[in-house]
């Protein structure tokens, strides 16, 4: 989810109303031959080994990590395992200042996820349940802006920030609000379009205002879509390097991606033990978010794109 994955969702999430949920499961009930199993085993192995090597190395002391490959621990497990240490992590956190960067990442990612979600939810509500002139045109504009590369913003916005004297976390929050907005509106509006209109109408008849309908009815009913966009945006912001480099740069407020790049990868002298520990520290939050909320994430992706 890295910077390239932003657009990923961009097109991926088309209209959710179409998923053929009722259809029976494929035509292939568990009839994998040995060849299928072998190929898949090889694929999974290839996909996991890179990360596994990183994880193992992050626990090895400097000399071990720089002089022998991580796989040698399987040849002499007892010799190497007893050398295993957490000091790479404490060093990466303190010497490479990843502790501050970690907090910065949280400070950037939480508002940059919540605020666009809130703004987009209001807009999506208006697009779905309110009548106003220019509605279709304005929504079509959102669709076409989905793929505008965010590179367009950097030069002019840097100038604007300089003129306004804006610095710190707010610069990236605002940028992520702008960059994530069209995707958020698109996902949420498509989802809200599938909610039963009758419920909303009857709320109106009972005298509920739009504001009340929005936060008492529509928001709770839209939780799946809100969750899937929130996960997406969180991963994208946490993993972002470019926006943070451009607007914040290295230093006091740098998030963990920038810190790992500048304080560890960029420093030739750092041993592999610190680089791998720092790398793993930068991944741990997104991996936990991903694994624990994978179901929401996949549902959000697929509900949209099945019809394509």
């Amino acid at each position: 989810m890295s910077s390239s994955t932003q657009t990923v969702a961009g097109v991926a999430t088309a209209t959710p109303r179409t998923a053929r949920r009722g259809a029976p499961k494929g035509g292939n009930p568990a009839n994998a031959g040995w060849l299928t199993r072998l190929v898949l085993a090889v694929v999974c192995f290839l996909w996991v080994v890179p990360t596994f090597g990183l994880l193992v190395t992050s626990f090895r002391p400097l000399d071990d990590a720089n002089n022998t490959g991580w796989w040698t621990i399987f040849a002499h497990p007892i010799n190497y395992l007893q050398n295993f240490t957490f000091s790479n992590y404490t060093d990466a956190l303190q010497q490479a200042h990843l502790n501050i960067a970690f907090i910065n990442s949280i400070a950037i990612a939480l508002p940059a996820t919540f605020i666009p979600l809130l703004i987009a939810a209001f807009a999506a509500y208006a697009f779905t349940f309110m009548e106003f002139p220019g509605r279709n045109f304005l929504f079509l504009a959102v669709v076409s802006l989905l793929i505008v590369p965010n590179y367009v913003a950097f030069v002019p916005i840097l100038q604007a920030y300089k003129n306004l004297g804006l610095t710190g976390f707010a610069t990236v929050w605002l940028a992520h609000i702008g960059f994530g907005m069209s995707l958020a509106i698109y996902i949420l509006r498509n989802y809200m379009g599938t909610l039963p209109k009758t419920v909303i109408e009857s709320a109106k008849i009972d005298g509920a205002s739009h504001f009340q309908t929005f936060y008492r009815l529509v928001l709770p009913m839209s939780v799946p879509a809100l969750a899937s966009f929130a996960i997406f945006q969180f991963l994208w912001v946490w993993n972002d390097l470019l926006v943070a480099l451009v607007f914040i740069g290295p230093g006091e407020n740098a998030p963990i991606t920038v810190a790992v790049k500048n304080n560890l990868i960029g420093q030739a002298g750092q041993g592999w033990n610190l680089v791998t520990a720092g790398g793993f520290l930068s991944m741990i939050v997104p991996i936990i978010v991903f694994l624990s909320l994978q179901r929401f994430f996949v549902r959000g992706l697929t509900a949209g794109a099945v019809k394509g």
Binding site: S2, A23, A30, V143, L145, P149, K261, G308
Partner: protein, 327 residues
């Protein structure tokens, strides 16, 4: 550290609180308006912040960027097509374009093909095996390219001959008696760019697989059975029954990957910073802006990128209208 945490929490609360307060105020403004105007104005107040964000961060800068691309390095004097001319006649920039084009030609197609392959095979496993396999292949998507950079620099790591190799790729080569190779410096036939593309494939195939797998499961079983009764074999069924029915999803994955590839930055920046002839447009943009301090050239690169996305944008809008019409 403690002070840092406290200020961070306060900043976050202020940011979030300001966003909530904004809507409360907007709603109050609407309610103050006389009866009929409230209903007329309210939709626009609801979409106002969203469009303000989009206008300020996409539309206005896009226009400004086009203007800047005709100005000099510090955006003071007009220089006409000079920036474009300088870039396009430069050998290194031509190579950058070729590299970007290679990424666009190779990565989306392979992403779709691999994703489809894994999806089809995993579909035959038991439910448990399927979800395990998918999770493992999908997981790199959660990892940033900086994180992926630490992983893959380690895989491609190179030590001179005679020293122990800590990078697994060179360890394998030397184990078979070969000489270690500095993989990322192999610019003949753009092989090093291919090694960088592998990183993106590693990160992106899971996404492709998840979407395509869901599409495959959505193919109605009766169409498959009808084909079987007509005597079609599994391969024919796949290519003439399944693929046409999931074509929309294939295109979605293809287009999505294509767009992200056009903008690729992090991988190249972290791994080689464009050295050894691996440069791409995204990285060149960054270097023009922050190494050469050349706003003009940086803007011209973005303008070219925008131009290249226009056909995709047209496709998107047409596709969306078609969807809407189908209801």
């Amino acid at each position: 550290m403690g002070a840092k945490i406290v200020t961070t929490i306060i900043t976050v609360l202020i940011g979030v609180g300001a966003a909530l307060a904004l809507y409360w105020v907007l709603n109050k403004i609407a309610e103050l308006l006389p009866g009929r105007w409230e209903g007329r104005v309210k939709p626009f107040l609801y979409i106002l912040p969203a469009y303000a964000a989009i206008t300020f961060y996409l539309i206005y800068p896009a226009i400004r960027t086009v203007f800047y691309s005709f100005k000099d390095a510090s955006s003071t004097n007009w220089v006409g097509w000079q920036n474009y001319h300088d870039l396009l006649t430069q050998h290194t920039f031509q190579q950058t374009l070729i590299n970007t084009l290679l990424w666009m030609l190779i990565v989306p197609v392979v992403t779709v093909a691999l994703g489809l392959g894994v999806a089809v095979l995993a579909d035959r496993l038991t439910a448990r095996g399927e979800s395990t396999a998918k999770t493992l292949v999908f997981m790199p998507m959660a990892i940033s390219f900086v994180g992926a950079g630490t992983i893959w620099r380690f895989i491609y790591a190179y030590r001179p001959e005679g020293q122990p190799q800590v990078g697994i790729q060179n360890a394998i080569v030397t184990a078979f008696g070969g000489s270690p190779i500095p993989w990322l410096e192999q610019s003949q036939f753009h092989i090093n760019s291919l090694f960088l593309m592998i990183m993106l494939l590693w990160a992106q195939v899971g996404f492709s697989m998840v979407l395509l797998s869901a599409a495959i499961k959505g193919v109605p079983v009766d169409t498959l059975e009808a084909a079987r009764i007509d005597g079609a074999n599994e391969r024919q069924i796949f290519f003439s029954v399944v693929v046409p029915q999931i074509w929309g999803t294939i295109m979605t994955v293809f287009v999505t990957t294509l767009i992200s590839v056009m903008k690729i930055f992090d991988i190249v920046y972290v791994m080689t910073n464009g050295n050894f002839n691996t440069n791409v447009l995204g990285n060149e943009f960054f270097n023009q802006l922050f190494t050469n301090f050349n706003n003009g050239a940086a803007s011209a690169i973005v303008a070219m990128l925008m131009l290249a996305t226009i056909p995709i944008m047209a496709y998107q809008v047409r596709h969306f209208r078609h969807e809407e019409a189908m209801g």
